[in-house]
């Protein structure tokens, strides 16, 4: 596959600077702002920003399926939750708790779940895929909820936060600052990696499955295998988000394996703009910020999901590309 991309003048690239220069400048500016943010923000908002990044990573992982392969997953809570419980297992069993072991366990758990789900669900398309992923995530939820001996059942698991270590070189406690930077580094790294993957020939095949599955198969690509890999890739990064969440909050609870988490993930994607990778992070930020502001203005009891649900529906009908939809083509170039 050697095709030269057609040069198009996008409105953002008219200034004469190359596309790459603008992209990397923008990227560095955003990262710099996020690095400096903890110095400016009060503790509550610092923690809030870190959580937005984690939810953003979860939503970004789901974007691989929704935006690039064209399969809506309603079961991302399973991968997120398995990442969380995997990390919890490592932190509880091994003493002293080790950060990298937690990452390893979490990713192993999420990947195993993803392989299992992918094997069955990728045989189906469209709504059947969506329903199957939903059902699978509920299976994991029921298992985790009822297997009280191992998972703590309804109460979940509580553990201590591991130290930040680089083996043999470095060992320190996480402060609010270093935790934020650690999360930021993981999310930014995941973004760059996924962006690279989605622009690679592999990513192109995924996008061609989205555009026309029958034709992709006719060209000779093993569509099913590509789909399985894309679900696994997605599950892997969702698991990474779960590990980060566990490290940040020092607990794992069955609530996060429940359908609500999957639903939120889909909402972040739709609001922010599918097929952009950064869009879901923006969507997560928008959603969490709107929720926080609504509950501050109208009180804790205010049903914030009613206005946000309306926004969600309006966006699907009138702005199906989401908030960042206008930049979709440019971001993927």
């Amino acid at each position: 596959m050697t095709t030269t991309p057609v040069e198009k003048t996008s409105p953002l690239g008219r200034s004469g600077l190359s596309h790459n220069a603008i992209f990397w400048t923008g990227f560095c500016v955003v990262i710099a702002i996020l690095i400096m943010a903890p110095y400016v923000l009060p503790p509550f908002w610092r923690r809030f920003l870190t959580e937005i990044l984690i939810w953003g990573l979860l939503a970004m992982s789901s974007d691989i399926l929704i935006g690039y392969t064209g399969m809506v997953s309603f079961g991302h809570s399973a991968f997120f939750g398995l990442g969380m419980y995997g990390a919890a297992a490592a932190l509880l069993i091994v003493s002293p708790p080790n950060l990298w072991l937690a990452v390893l366990f979490g990713l192993a758990g999420a990947s195993a779940a993803a392989l299992f789900v992918a094997y069955f669900s990728t045989r189906l398309r469209d709504i059947y895929f969506a329903i199957t992923t939903l059902i699978f995530s509920q299976i994991f939820y029921v298992l985790i909820f009822t297997w009280t001996k191992v998972t703590g059942g309804e109460n979940g698991l509580i553990f201590t936060r591991p130290h930040f270590t680089i083996p043999f070189i470095f060992d320190t406690k996480f402060s609010a600052y270093t935790l934020h930077w650690f999360v930021l580094a993981v999310v930014a790294g995941s973004y760059l990696f996924l962006r690279r993957v989605m622009r690679s020939p592999f990513g192109m095949v995924l996008q061609s499955i989205r555009e026309n599955e029958a034709r992709t198969r006719a060209i000779g690509y093993p569509v099913q295998r590509y789909k399985i890999v894309s679900v696994m890739l997605s599950g892997f990064f969702a698991g990474l988000a779960g590990v980060l969440y566990a490290v940040q909050n020092q607990f794992a609870a069955p609530d996060f394996v429940f359908f609500i988490t999957s639903g939120d993930t889909v909402i972040f994607n739709v609001i922010g703009g599918i097929g952009t990778l950064v869009g879901p992070i923006v969507g997560a930020g928008f959603f969490q910020l709107a929720r926080e502001l609504l509950s501050r203005v109208f009180g804790e009891q205010f049903p914030y999901l009613i206005p946000l649900g309306v926004v969600f529906i309006v966006i699907i009908i009138f702005l199906p590309q989401g908030l960042l939809g206008f930049a979709r083509r440019w971001l993927n170039r």
Partner: protein, 290 residues
């Protein structure tokens, strides 16, 4: 291991009763899918809303049957409004959009119910309170009545589809939307009507079911999941298949809960769904298409 015959008989009755309610919910869902290509994620919330509407009507009038009819009508109107405002603009777009929009609606309705009625479960008293003896149990007649009523509603609905003018329109729209439009059938309004009917059926089952467990704002998700399973196992858009699948799945769950906890018995129906999707993706109770 002894086979607990008494338990099996009791669970058979229980399974059929739940199965009939489930069939009523699922037939609305399958109708909406078969005719409109809409996967209605908010169906469980319509069920819940029906139950709450029933609670409100009963607290003002005190009459269960008035509640059943009024709640169905209220929810039918809500459904029609939902369809006109949000689903109509999406006709012709990818069906996945309809899942997302109805999912948005389920969030709104669920949180509205929580906000309006609070987190405490409400109860609807049983309209008839007689019992009969089933082994060591006093089995309420009301449960048998529910099963009968559900069957009657589904049967009436089937006759309606088969013989009434609107029923013929619905079937014509299912077969060929463009041709139906050309013959002068008001297709957009048929679609609205179908959605309203499906919503009314969900609401009716909500009111019927409410006396058994009480009404709360989270009951929707449970039911929509079960109804999805039933609709897929029975074959999307297939009314008879849905009824058969509803009873089949409910019976399996009822038997499973003899040995494991009810929360885990749900997994049985998940497994049925997965096996169906793998081996008979068009549904268990329909002939495989050639």
């Amino acid at each position: 291991m002894d086979i607990p015959w008494d338990l099996i008989v009791i669970q058979t009755v229980n399974g059929i009763v739940t199965g009939m309610i489930l069939a009523l919910v699922a037939s609305g869902l399958t109708l909406i899918f078969g005719i409109m290509d809409v996967v209605n994620f908010a169906h469980g919330e319509l069920f819940m809303l029906g139950a709450y509407a029933g609670v409100v009507v009963i607290s003002t009038t005190g009459n269960f049957w008035a509640a059943l009819i009024l709640a169905s009508m209220i929810v039918a109107l809500i459904g029609a409004g939902m369809q006109i405002v949000t689903l109509r603009p999406l006709i012709g777009r990818d069906p996945l959009n309809t899942i997302l929009v109805t999912f948005g609606f389920s969030l709104i309705l669920q949180n509205y119910a929580l906000w309006q009625f609070g987190p405490v479960a409400r109860r609807i008293p049983e309209p008839i309170t007689g019992y009969f003896d089933l082994f060591y149990l006093q089995y309420p007649w009301y449960r048998i009545l529910i099963a009968g009523l559900s069957a009657a509603i589904i049967g009436g609905f089937w006759l309606f589809l088969k013989y009434s003018k609107f029923g013929v329109w619905i079937r014509a729209t299912t077969q060929d939307r463009v041709m139906a439009q050309a013959m002068g059938i008001p297709v957009p309004w048929v679609l609205t009507g179908v959605f309203a009917l499906g919503a009314a059926m969900a609401a009716a089952s909500g009111v019927l079911f409410a006396p058994l467990v009480g009404v709360n704002h989270t009951m929707g998700l449970d039911w929509v999941l079960k109804a999805f399973i039933v609709v897929v196992v029975g074959g999307m858009g297939n009314l008879v298949g849905s009824v058969a699948a509803a009873i089949f799945v409910s019976l399996l769950e009822a038997y499973a809960s003899i040995w494991v906890s009810p929360a885990q018995a749900v997994i049985v129906s998940f497994i049925v769904l997965i096996l169906t999707l793998l081996f008979r993706p068009t549904g268990l109770f329909v002939p495989t298409p050639k």
